[in-house]
Structures are given as C-alpha cells and as structure tokens.
Symmetry: C2
Subunit: 376 residues, 2 copies
C-alpha cells in the first residue's frame, strides 16, 4: 500500500491524496459505505460502483465472523470473492461491536469473551484471533483490535483502557508480522488511537500509535455521544501529532457537517452507518439540506429527490413517490433512499477533494456546512 | 388496444400473440409482476426493464386508492408518471383485496363498504367508483369490479355472487362508456368470470362475459385454495367458450407449473405475488427446479444462483452468498431473490412463446413442468 499526497490546503489542515491498494486506488478524502455483513444494506454491488461511485467499503469483523464465518469466507477466497465487490475493502476489528454488546461481554487483558447477539453462544476475541479473522476475511485494510470506551468515561478507566489498547496493538502487530495474507495480496494494518475526550491521553495515544509506524492511523472512541466540539478538539489534537505522509481515518463519523469539519482538520477517511440507516427511516441528505421525507410537506412534491446531485434514483424519482414508498414501508423506498444518501456522501467528499486541489476548500467548506446541515 | 395472434399450438390450446397498447406491445403468453402500491417489492424500475424484461406490471386499485390516493395520482398524471414505469400497466379492481378483508367489509348490491387495513377508516367501492379510481390511476388495462368468492363456497352463494358480479359488470361497462380516460390514452376494460368450481356457473359466466364484447377477458376466483385439478378444469372449460381473438387473463396464478399448464389450456396472461413474496422468504424458482435457499445444503455452495438462466443477479452471486443474506435478513437478499425469481418467470413465458411459435410447445411443456416443479 502506498499513500501519496496530491495537495495540502493552505487555509486548513485538509489534504487530498491517493491511497494505492491491491484492489485499486482510493482518492482521499473518502467516505466508506458500511457493508456490515458483506452487504451494504439495500444496495446492489453494481449500484455501489456505478451509481454511488464508492471506492472502498467496510466489512464488520464481528458480524462476518459470526456469519458466514471464516471457514466459508476462506473457501470462497475471501470477502471480495464472496460478495463480488472487487474494489478495496476495510474491516474493523470488532472492538466497537463487542463494546456495544454491554453486559454480554467481559474484557480482560487477554481479550474479550462475548455472547453472540444471534444465538447467545460464547466466543473469545483476542488481538491474535482478530488478526487471524481479518486475514480470513481478506480486506485490504485491517484495523487493530482495540477497546472503544463509552462516553462519558471516567479518566482512570479511559487511561487504563488506552494502555491496554496499546498493549493489544503490539500483539496485533506481532501477529500480522508473523503471518501471511491468505489470498496473495497485501493487507495493511491500521492502529487505533483511544483516550476518550482527555487531551493528555489522546496525545499519549497518538504518539504511541504514530511510533508503531504502520500503514495508516485511525482515531477511535469518538462519535459515541460526546459533544461535537470535543470530537473536533480531539481530532485536531491528534492530527497535529500523526505523521503527514500516512492516511488518517476517523472511525464512525458522521454527519455531512462532521465530515467537512474533520476534513478541514486533516482527516482522510470516514465511515458511518448514518447515510444508510437514516435512509431507511426516511431521512435524506441532499445538496440543499436535510429532508425528513415522511413529513406531510413532501406529500405532493413531484420534483426530483435531488436534481443538483444527479444520478439515477435522485433524478428519476420524485419526493412524493419516495415519500409514498417510505410511508408504505416498501423495500424500494429503503433502496432509493440508501442509494441517494450514499451518492450524496460520495459526492460531498469528491467535491471537497476538488476544492482542496484548487485551493478553495476553506471558503467552500463554510458555505457547504451551512447548506448541508440546514433542515428543509 | 389490439390483440393479434401469431400462432396456435396444434397439440394444445396454447397461443402466442401480441397485445398492442398505448404504452407498448406485450408478447403473450406473459407474466405480469405485481406492483401492489406502485412498486414491485424490492425491485427498481430499471431492473424490471433491463434485468427482468417485464413487459407489463400490475397495480392494486385497493392499495393505490388508500395510498397515495387518486388526488396525488391525478396530479402526477397517472401511475406511469408517478412511479416512472413507462410500459403497460394493468390494475385490478380491488375486488380480491376487499374480499380478503374478511369481517372488515360488507357486500351489498350497491357495492362494498370496507374498513381500511391501514387506519380502520370506512370506504365504499361501487362498480362506478372503482371505474373512476381506475381512470385516475390510468392503467392501460382496467379490471371490472367483481366479487371474488372464497374456496370452498357453497353453490347457492357462488351462483348469487356470480349474478351480482355480472350486474356489477354492466354498471362498470356503462361507467367506462360514459367517461373518458384522463391522460389521453386508451384504457381497456377486462370483465371477470366467476362461478367458483361449479361447471354450470363457470359456463354461464363465461358466456355472459364473452357476450359483453370487451377488449379481453379474465378468469377470477381461482387459485384461492381449490385443488389444481379444479383450477385446470375450470380454466379449460371457460377457454373453450371465450372468443379466440381476445386475450385471456387468469388472475392470481401461480406456480411455474400452473403457468405452463394453463398456457396449454389457452391462457395468455398471468399475475401472481409468488415469485416476489416467496423470494423474500428464500424460495427460488430456477431453471433446474425449486430451491429453499435457507436449507443447510446450500451453505457452502459457491456456484451461481442459476447459471442457465443468465442475467446479472443469477450469475453474479453464489447460492452461498444469497443464503447468507437471506439468513441475515439483509434487504439485499430480498432484492436479489426477487429479481432472480421474476427473471425466471419472464424467461419461462418467453420460452413457452418460442416453443409455441416453433410448434414444439406440448412436448417441451411436459419436460419443463417436471423440471421446474422438482425440489432441489
């Protein structure tokens, strides 16, 4: 894997780059649609490619480990072969999902013992085991196994947890260094910074993570309920510490506004379930602002979903038709809204990249943040 | 509307024809995907056209009347404009849905008073009102308002009901003859034969319906739970009475086997929710037979869903991947299975048409019935 920077914005810390992987190039800043269990919900693979113009998608290690399981994934030749997505894939480490299980998991130095949300069966994730699972899945970018602390989180817990995440990282690095990819192409490990909303912890963590000299670096434990100001402050802080020549991935973020603000702080990669999850509930992100399509005001609106955005679903269908589908719980409503929202997210980061390249990002960002966060 | 016969099979009553409508030609025999509330469930309009090769779809008057309602449909310029399907559409009359409401409806000579399944609100469908609603929807083919009798149904009820359906038909014809289409193109009325499984009633009904000299003729009240032998016997009986130069539509039928058998009896048009509804539960109709993709036996099967059928979803995705999606209740599973099943249904009627045109239908049909009804 190789990361080349194409431009640095002069008025902000925004960067435009290209991440080269065995499954193709990724132009950054980029948004990565979430394909939880090997499918981006309600979206066909060809729609991801042709309509949404996704360049990389996510897979969730926790979900893929439980189903279909590593045995079938290996038999298929990895997730790319299994789900037919031939462009880059990134897998998380299961840390976030396991943390979400609440009382159904127990964290020790060795790893995490948890109960499956599907059948209650008991499983253990250790840093070594997770690296092995990510080898079986075969993503181009594999995330280190971490503990994602909740918000709020008291200082002493956040500190202890951060140190454990660092110790786990060393075990992840060791495992990756002593094993080979299963499918003949490179897998790049990204370590994850933790430290909750505590400046000194985030600094320590960023320095430790940077010192590991891996392919890229990620920021975890944000967008878990803290105020946006804290998210921005922590992101800004660690971006000042992380090496400039490696991609930076802010995990689980966020709204269009969050993404633009964090691009300005120096983030290159984002993922979030928001565009697909909210789509299924009728919330649309458009070039003109946010629409709750369930509102009565859209009932008779026969104008396109988003003329300016372009693309098949956003111009072919009217707001009134999409509202009708969503209100009627028609699956097609979820499909159209999901494609639309993802198309918008990918358009947004592409536009941001263009503006960075032409040196007009900062001013454009201020205008866009207002526009895309307004409620229509 | 015009119906031209291209070939009559010599060894059966099968026919191949072309139904010309304002929105394009329909090659018969044809299967019509059901687009209940203005959407074929889990299928994009462009997939209907490009993958499934649907030539005509159905809309349900009952559902469309309740939501989005005739006011919005008229404002949009009819259902074609509202949902973006520019090829022919047929609407049922709501008779079947109203009959399905059970205790929530009351049938009188004037019409049916029923409670909405959505909010319990009270509505009245009369033959005149239904014709007006079908004018608002603007389908190319509009079905007469009938009573669909249940199975079993005692003789006296079936007889009375049939006569009422006939009286309602006269009112439908009168209404259609004294009103104009709203959107500048022709709408063809199809009356519906009733009479349950009673030969003398079906004969009477077929003769009465034929005497109305409408654009086409339909057979209702079958595929409601009666043995297949009764369905075939009634279909055969009425096909012997109905004029040869008009299309014949067997409503709500059925399995691939039913369709092939009824093509042999002289049916030109079919509709059924089975390919889409069963798809969502993981039942696949394939060129090799019927697959319950949820079965353990498909878990590791990395072969295509249906190589012989061809088409994107059926060859791009493996059985194991589709099983994984269906088991995980991923929406994409419903999408892939629905496209696959509809592609298969449209392929089946197209193949039947080819065989009729080349005079090889009867022998082919016997082989195919066994093949497509076998359980894999």
């Amino acid at each position: 894997m190789k990361f080349t920077l194409a431009a640095n914005d002069v008025q902000s810390s925004a960067r435009a780059g290209v991440l080269h992987t065995a499954h193709g190039d990724i132009e950054t800043p980029i948004f990565m649609p979430v394909g939880t269990a090997g499918s981006v919900k309600a979206v066909h693979q060809r729609e991801l490619e042709n309509d949404i113009h996704a360049q990389i998608i996510l897979g969730n290690t926790y979900h893929l480990y439980l189903r279909p399981g590593t045995e079938l994934l290996e038999r298929a030749g990895g997730l790319h072969k299994f789900n037919g997505w031939q462009k880059p894939i990134l897998t998380d480490s299961g840390g976030y999902q396991v943390y979400s299980l609440g009382h159904n998991r127990k964290i020790t130095e060795e790893g995490v013992i948890f109960k499956s949300h599907i059948d209650g069966s008991k499983h253990t994730f250790t840093p070594e085991r997770v690296m092995d699972i990510e080898r079986s899945i075969g993503a181009d970018i594999i995330m280190a196994f971490d503990e994602c602390t909740p918000y709020p989180c008291d200082y002493s817990y956040a500190k202890e947890s951060m140190h454990m995440t660092h110790r786990w990282l060393k075990r992840c690095v060791e495992r990756v260094n002593t094993t080979e990819p299963l499918y003949g192409y490179e897998q790049a490990l990204f370590p994850i910074i933790q430290g909750s909303v505590y400046k000194d912890l985030r600094e320590q963590s960023a320095e430790f993570i940077a010192s590991q000299n891996q392919w890229g670096n990620a920021i975890g434990g944000l967008s878990v309920g803290e105020p946006h100001e804290d998210m921005y402050a922590m992101t800004s802080l660690v971006c000042g510490i992380l090496p400039k020549d490696k991609p930076r991935y802010l995990m689980g973020v966020g709204t269009p506004e969050n993404i633009l603000e964090c691009i300005a702080l120096g983030i290159d990669m984002f993922d979030c379930v928001m565009p697909t999850r909210n789509a299924r509930n009728g919330m649309l992100f458009t070039t003109q602002g946010i629409i709750n399509i369930r509102n009565e005001k859209w009932k008779d609106d026969l104008s396109s979903i988003d003329e300016e955005l372009g693309g098949y679903v956003s111009t072919f269908h009217s707001k009134a038709y999409l509202r009708h589908l969503i209100i009627n719980k028609e699956i097609l409503g979820a499909q159209i809204a999901s494609i639309h929202n993802l198309t918008f997210y990918l358009w947004l980061v592409k536009e941001a990249r263009k503006q960075i390249l032409t040196g007009t990002f900062a001013a454009w960002k201020d205008v866009m943040v207002k526009k895309v966060s307004s409620r229509l």
